[in-house]
């Protein structure tokens, strides 16, 4: 694209998180000079890296793991040698003990002790024998599959910490949705196709920038600026003007001043709800109402510097202890040694899930550091006296909430946004989707392709609901073999027609008996077929005579039909039960990974 053509477009990108920066970078590579507007004082959005006294803190912990080739290429392009391959370890911390994650039965039972294991087994049996008839809540849904005791230990407290509502109130569909993609194909193939070694490696390991994701996003910012683009910090968009052609300009508030920036094309990663609320003239009431109804979950990280070289080997741990508020603890040194300036110290990020404006969110930083210190001491990871310093970072709108009504409201907003031809919304909050960093980046890339090359990529369809299943799907991602095996499965597991099988067996049995009788009759002799005639005990009237052969034909057909029908029935039933068993196993395997999704 030549310079003149590029200058025809004035592209404004709202938000300098992964999606916005990726879009900016792609545009810069095409010789455009986009203007990026970021409300914070640093880039990276939800994937930013904060720093305090030389320690780096990744907000949320971002594994760099993707199946999107374009994204992988960009990571390598930007980071080069600073892109590290790190081992992955994340376990559950409960009652002073570590449990493997995903849950492994033997490890869990050893860790919980004999009596607790007995309780769990009895509880499992009890709920298998007499499950909830209607699975309306998440609690009922999980209990029916794992038993109440296991639910209480491994699901209840963490889920409630993350989402802030009781598991009895959380809808069962929420969990059911997580495994809706568990197709029969996946289940069957995963039983028979060996996982790819390379994929397995990526599950046990991940890539990570030497100084956290912020290192990546700062480098992208520099590259955009080097290409003539502009990244304005502390530039929150407070108004968006629209006309019949779409978006006309945005009003930016910066240090108390307002500035209107006109553009021809707009890409935004700001929360779609915020975008709707800032429109001028305002969006229709139904759209505004929908924007009011979408909710988010926020979190804050209490960052603590511990005067110890090593605490635990995990990258992060899930804290299931219901007596403490902390939900997850990041050990940044295990993400990258360069996250910590002094090797004799360790930096932890205690993640508290909350809602903007609630008690936890409003606590002072000092109080939060004290809380973190106390809780760390209480669960026994380290003593309070070893903690020498701390700070707090708040991350608003970290998780879009999928409640029972969100889909309807999101549809209203999607339809409205579709009516703005020069505007595209990208990223996790722009699309209100539980997207990971890589998918957010990919939406930025696709938005640029739509804008520059007239492609019709649907950004709303880039999502990570299926990503939750990535590992089980990866295990069976052997495309050349898949179709052949699928064909074979279709052959093996399709139903055997009971009537057709009965008729065919009946026909052959009838003819065999008919011929056997007739052969003996034709051979003749004083006593014809004394042994075959014993069949009369079962087939009244049968004899080794010409007329008996006809009767034998009928009897043979009849008994053969019943035998064949029953065989087909039993074969179909056992095939179905086998498939159901496989499905159940795969469902359990997947559910063990539910916490990561939570």
């Amino acid at each position: 694209m030549d310079q003149q053509k590029a200058s025809e477009k004035q592209i404004i990108i709202i938000g300098a998180g992964p999606a916005g920066l990726t879009a900016g970078y792609e545009l810069a590579k095409l010789n455009h000079r986009p203007i990026l507007l970021e409300k914070d004082d640093q880039v990276g959005g939800l994937a930013r890296t904060e720093s305090y006294k030389g320690f780096y803190f990744d907000m949320g912990g971002h594994r760099f793991f993707t199946k999107v080739e374009e994204v992988k290429k960009m990571w390598q392009e930007i980071l080069g040698q600073d892109f590290l391959r790190r081992p992955r370890l994340s376990r559950i911390f409960y009652n002073g003990k570590f449990f493997d994650y995903p849950l492994k039965p033997v490890n869990a039972l050893f860790g919980l002790g004999f009596w607790e294991s007995i309780r769990i087994a009895l509880s499992y049996l009890r709920w298998q024998l007499s499950p909830y008839r209607h699975e309306e809540s998440f609690e009922q849904w999980v209990t029916n599959r794992f038993g109440k005791r296991l639910f209480e230990i491994f699901f209840k407290s963490y889920t409630e910490k993350v989402w802030g509502i009781s598991c009895a109130e959380l809808k069962a569909e929420w969990a059911a949705q997580r495994i809706k993609d568990l197709s029969l194909k996946t289940v069957l193939l995963s039983m028979f196709i060996k996982p790819k070694k390379t994929i397995k490696t990526l599950i046990d390991q991940f890539d990570y920038p030497r100084r956290g994701p912020g290192m990546m996003w700062n480098a992208v910012k520099e590259r955009i600026e080097r290409h003539g683009g502009e990244v304005r910090m502390n530039a929150g968009v407070i108004g968006i003007h629209r006309n019949s052609n779409g978006i006309e300009s945005v009003v930016v508030g910066c240090n108390g001043n307002k500035e209107t920036i006109r553009g021809t094309h707009f890409i935004s990663s700001m929360p779609v709800t915020e975008f709707i609320k800032r429109l001028d003239p305002p969006a229709p009431p139904a759209v505004l109402h929908a924007a009011e109804k979408l909710n988010y979950r926020d979190f804050l990280t209490v960052c603590l510097i511990v005067n110890k070289p090593d605490l635990f080997p995990d990258n992060w741990i899930y804290v299931h202890d219901p007596d403490v508020k902390v939900g997850r603890i990041q050990n940044f040194k295990n993400w990258s040694l360069d996250m910590v300036p002094d090797p004799t110290k360790t930096s932890l990020g205690l993640e508290y899930f909350c809602t903007e404006g609630d008690t936890l969110w409003n606590m002072s930083d000092d109080d939060l550091v004290s809380l973190g210190r106390r809780e760390l001491d209480r669960i026994g990871l380290t003593s309070a006296s070893d903690i020498e310093d701390g700070c707090v970072f708040r991350v608003p709108k970290a998780y879009p909430i999928y409640d029972s009504e969100y889909r309807d409201y999101l549809t209203i907003m999607k339809e409205f946004v579709a009516g703005l031809p020069n505007y595209q919304t990208v990223g996790r909050n722009g699309l209100h989707r539980y997207n990971n960093q890589d998918h957010a980046m990919f939406t930025g890339m696709l938005a640029v392709r739509n804008m520059m090359f007239g492609e019709k990529n649907d950004l709303w369809s880039v999502n990570t609901d299926s990503e939750y299943l990535e590992e089980i799907h990866d295990n069976v991602d052997c495309e050349p073999a898949v179709n052949t095996v699928k064909e074979a499965f279709a052959q093996v597991f399709s139903k055997l027609d009971r009537v057709a099988f009965g008729l065919s067996i009946g026909t052959v049995c009838g003819i065999l008996l008919f011929l056997a009788t007739l052969v003996l009759v034709l051979k003749g002799g004083d006593v014809l077929g004394p042994r075959l005639e014993l069949l009369e005990n079962y087939f009244p009237g049968y004899s080794v005579t010409p007329s008996g052969s006809l009767l034998g034909l009928g009897y043979g057909f009849f008994s053969g039909f019943i035998g064949g029908w029953c065989f087909a029935f039993l074969r179909n039933t056992s095939a179905f039960l086998y498939m159901a068993l496989l499905h159940r196993r795969a469902e359990h395997q997947l559910l063990r990974k539910l916490l990561e999704y939570v």
Partner: protein, 108 residues
Amino acid sequence: MAERESLEEIVLTRLVRLNASLQGIVTGLVAGLGVFIATNWLLLQGGDVVGPHLALLGQFFIGYEVNFVGSLIGLAYGFATGFLVGYSVSHIYNWIAERRENKQKGRS
């Protein structure tokens, strides 16, 4: 297989087809080996009169006797008969299943 048809749909709606030759060979092998093993089992057991009842198979399988050579002849006869049975069952089944499936499709 239609590209968009999921395995669930196939499994739940389609009827399995039997491979007649394969079915014939399998049934033939089972029947042939059955006769072969049954004959030799009686030979190993021994006795004054060896396998008087099994010897009745000679009425249908000309040349069959309860001795080792007979067991080989029985193997061949058993295989041939089994093959015919398996092959015929599969052919008849496939023919009926095809017609029933078409009829069902026509209705829907």
